[in-house]
């Protein structure tokens, strides 16, 4: 991992990955959407609304995945002052927040016809809402200080402490009574979902992951540029100030 602490080396890797991630996103989301909308069967209980699953579940998985990336990269940034890890955490936050918002919004659109309500304050929904606020808090804290390194440190600590929320979200459906259905794909005894639905779901999930890698590589490049710009400005300021 320390090999990639060097921004130039990391940029080379991300430039190499970017076209692949882009192609994977287009292909997987294209084929996945075709199967999700036209081919996969309606559910015997939930009828056609089950199609919302194909955009809801991957968004929710990515919401948790992105936060996990943020926890580990923030920890690496705090422990080793790993510049690239810091940038990866910062670049991930808005993407993760988008996925989390999508999980909440599409979930709400699925909840209304199936549960009869847009929202309930139960464990799963509330813990995902907290996840959304953690993302927002991270982004706000990061930019809240004049000294960018102080903001980065405060935000990293928030990300790491908030990491406790990830297992809470995952197991909330088992620990508490909730309207939300329990896990049906990521289970110890294998997925409890027919392959005609599982295949498009997994395609969409791969597409969402590739989309994250694609967008992340763009944002990481932009963040590295930003830190270069800051460094140049700081140098100019010190050169200009009277000795």
């Amino acid at each position: 991992m320390h090999r990639f602490a060097n921004p130039t080396r990391f940029l080379r890797l991300s430039n190499m990955l970017q076209p692949w991630a882009m192609a994977m996103t287009v292909i997987c989301l294209g084929v996945g959407l075709y199967f999700a909308i036209f081919v996969s069967p309606p559910d015997y209980q939930q009828s056609e609304t089950v199609r919302i699953m194909y955009v809801h579940v991957p968004a929710a998985w990515m919401a948790m995945f992105c936060y996990t990336v943020m926890v580990f990269s923030s920890a690496a940034a705090l422990i080793w002052r790993h510049l690239v890890a810091q940038i990866v955490a910062k670049a991930t936050a808005p993407i993760g927040a988008t996925f989390t918002f999508l999980a909440l919004a599409t979930g709400s659109l699925w909840g209304k016809p199936m549960w009869g309500t847009w929202w309930v304050w139960d464990a799963r929904l509330t813990s995902v809402l907290i996840l959304f606020f953690l993302y927002l808090g991270f982004m706000i804290l990061y930019d809240a200080f004049d000294d960018i390194s102080r903001g980065a440190k405060a935000a990293s600590i928030l990300a790491v402490v908030g990491g406790i929320n990830v297992p809470i979200i995952k197991f909330s459906v088992d620990w508490w009574n909730t309207l939300h259905q329990p896990a049906s794909v990521v289970k110890l005894d294998g997925p409890a979902i027919h392959s005609s639905m599982l295949a498009p779901l997994l395609l969409m999930a791969i597409g969402y992951t590739a989309f994250y890698i694609w967008t992340l590589s763009i944002r990481v490049k932009a963040e590295i540029n930003s830190s270069k710009i800051r460094a140049i400005r700081m140098r100019q300021n010190t050169n200009q100030s009277p000795v």
Binding site: E48, R51, T98, T106, A222, N225, I229, I232, Q236
Partner: protein, 74 residues
Amino acid sequence: MNQLTNFMSMSGYGHFIWPAFGISAILLAGILIHSQRFLRHTEKELHTQNSHETKLEVAEDINIVEDINNETKK
């Protein structure tokens, strides 16, 4: 036409299903476009900063050359 209406209605759940797909498409496209603009902006800024730096360095070099010329004249 009737087939299309039937398909769009999704057994009466169309007005929940299509907004779910729509908002996903809009927000994902949005974050992608935002990221690309952010990158373009920093590239442009970096370019102007760099050319400014080079000008400063050139100006410094000219000053040094002038200083040396002045010294040799003395």
